[in-house]
Symmetry: C2
Subunit: 434 residues, 2 copies
């Protein structure tokens, strides 16, 4: 436990620091202590918890200590503050504090598990005096950024490979998500590609399953892809889910690519962000990281790690496509948070290429105008599952309903007007528009 006299050792002015040596970690926390003491404890616990050996004249805080560089108390109603009590805080009078901490990155190096252990490990989450805490943002200096690979293909490479310009990518998650035989799967994928999809993908529950071995699925879906490319005259992508134990990722990537997949997906959180980075170093095709699992630590407003941090980590780890909880009530994610995640995929970030953001969750043709309006530009993947593969006239019509919805958006025509002489869209509106 720190005492008041220890506080100054954990505070610094930004101008006193060589910021190239620090990552900036932003937290929101609640405390019933002196906020400066709590913030100093947060620094101490995440870095030099015991900064000297008894009986020695030394102070390790200078080189190894994390330091508060900004501290603000938030008032009820300010951004990030919720009136309800969440997270088990005991004191109704606790104060809500936002801090930025400069943490020397030589404490962990350019290693994701070590960075995460410092920023979101035992220190911050069991810090004396701090009731609830959420790690909300992360900024990395340019020299440190250069030690990460980032996306290999990125948004630019995806646009080039798939010849998709001036519009969102159209992406379909083949449904039923589990239980189909590889041939059944490939048929649905084929039908969706010829209807206009750029990318047909495995659900995140798929993988190398005994009832749908990856090699077989990649072969038949790969053949279906080539057929769809020949017939449509457009490049297509089969995105295979290779989520598995980490020592199977490279072999499965190779099997998928040799079969005919031209992109692979892993579930970043549960496979591990470090495993994603490992895969990035060996991958020959674009990678998608799916957001499944992110909710367990990001969904609550006052506790855990923000989805923004998770998005940045996945881009750093090298995901070319980043799945995100998207707009709409089902995904329980405020619009501003979705927008911030999309921006975090795209913003200039030193040598780290932009990734394609794919906000998702119960979208279909009818939600495209609103999603486009909320995103504000075309640099995103528009993803649908049941809206394509649950379309009563089949996946070709399902995919066409997305294309037609986009045509309507481009022309500034309301969907129901445009649907009058566009059958696929019309049926989609009738089926899913309830």
């Amino acid at each position: 436990m720190l005492s008041l006299e220890d506080i100054p050792g954990f505070f610094a002015e930004k101008s006193q620091l060589n910021l190239e040596d620090y990552v900036l970690l932003k937290y929101l926390f609640e405390t019933d202590q002196d906020p400066r003491l709590a913030a100093a404890s947060l620094c101490s616990e995440q870095s030099t918890a015991q900064w000297k050996r008894p009986g020695r004249e030394e102070d390790l805080r200078g080189r190894f200590g994390a330091k508060v560089v900004e501290l603000n108390e938030l008032k009820e109603g300010q951004s990030g503050v919720r009136s309800q009590e969440s997270g088990g805080g005991k004191n109704p009078n606790h104060r809500k504090i936002q801090v930025t901490i400069a943490h020397p990155h030589h404490n962990f190096g350019s290693r994701l598990p070590n960075l995460l252990s410092a920023a979101a490990g035992e220190g911050p989450f069991y810090c004396p005096g701090i009731e609830t805490i959420k790690w909300i943002d992360l900024e990395l200096p340019s020299t440190f950024l250069r030690s990460f690979e980032g996306p290999q293909f990125g948004l630019k490479g995806l646009r080039k490979n798939l010849k998709v310009h001036d519009r969102p990518f159209f992406i379909g998650v083949v449904k039923p998500n589990i239980g189909l035989k590889p041939g059944e799967f490939a048929e649905l994928a084929y039908l969706s590609w010829v209807g206009g999809l750029d990318i047909a993908k495995d659900d995140e529950m798929l993988g190398d399953m005994e009832w749908s071995p990856l090699t077989t699925r990649a072969q038949v879906a790969g053949q279906a892809r080539l057929k769809a490319e020949r017939e449509s005259g457009h490049p297509k992508m089969y995105l295979a889910s290779i989520t598995d134990e980490v020592d199977r990722l490279i072999p499965l990537h190779d099997q998928a690519v040799e079969g005919g997949a031209n992109a692979v997906m892993v579930n970043g959180v549960f496979t591990g962000f470090s495993a994603l980075r490992h895969l990035r170093k060996k991958a020959r095709v674009p990678l998608m990281s799916h957001f499944t699992g992110t909710a367990i630590f990001s969904r609550l407003p006052d506790f855990g790690i923000s989805s923004l941090v998770a998005t940045k980590i996945q881009r750093l780890a090298g995901a070319d496509m980043i799945g995100l909880a998207g707009f709409g009530e089902r995904m329980k994610c405020p619009d501003e948070e979705v927008a911030a995640n999309i921006q975090a995929c795209l913003d200039p970030w030193g040598p780290i290429a932009a990734a394609l953001p794919i906000p998702g969750g119960s979208d279909w043709a009818g939600t495209l105008p609103k999603v486009f309006q909320k995103v504000g530009h075309t640099d995103f993947g528009f993803i649908s599952g049941r809206g394509i593969f649950g379309h009563p006239a089949g996946p070709t019509a399902g995919a066409m309903s997305l294309v037609e919805a986009w045509e309507a958006v481009k022309r500034g025509v309301p969907l129901d007007s445009y649907a009058k002489d566009h059958e696929a869209l019309k049926v989609a509106l009738e089926t899913f528009g309830g």
Copy 2:
């Protein structure tokens, strides 16, 4: 979205199922819907979300659907129910439900990332009608258990190797946790071993750092260990933290072991449970998985994944020693939860060996009697950091204070009486007993 008529397809009697084909997943959730509908949605979303192709006569739920086998509504005050609202539930009248779901394990196989994606992925955490949800327990059938390796050495191997019988293991986390040079680190470890520690370990913030390269640290700490073994006549363990990117784990394990470490540690959550399992398959020494990071999803009572599930996953992945949030106010973990985690390391579990539970958090000599009383037996590791390495008379006295506290416990003597003629314990009580 399911309708009421879909419900029966997602319910089953246990007696109707071959339980060897299913894992049992227990959840606590809040809903303002018909609880049976919400529970059926939870099954649907985590398995066959769209269970047929349009226009086909098929129903994939039989083979692939998850099924509710138990459903109970909890009343205020019952186990697991908290009166405060946590997790953003909107409706003060929501109902608190506990369900057990039988999920067919051929949907994911014996792959941790896939199992976790099914049980704690997009399905459960964005399920329509469910406000907040916590995955609280997991049971695996015996045939499925046999496809996991589990601990290689386990509690039994550790007792044999370290010749520790009829008492807890004494473990010290060398402090200052970061910033020491390898030689300084080794000196402190040596001093703690000769004072009576069985295991001196790296803090979870350590790794292969530029200011303390693992190879060098393992060499000097390994030499110090051999010296302490010779002088004390007892086996000692140096437990090296090798947390790093997953493709560095095996090389670092090898460097550590060749240097002189005889156990290694990773931070399970952030390195990834699958990476832990990968390491288990190649490791030549016992493994510890540290709990850092577990809090981000387990600390809240009504949301996320319970620490019990995390403990079981780490044992399944092959950790011989499992670090746990321990007793005491700082760790914000109720006593019953700590006890359940300890038991989950030790309970008979088919072919999966027992692991050594290491509940930790601000323990020192003075807390040993209470921790022993709460555990109720000697099958645990008693771990201390500042209580050993912050002892004013040095780490030898710090380690001795633990040994002396244990002697007092064995004799049924209160610590302050025993301290009268045991100097190390006396100074510890004076220093940390405030």
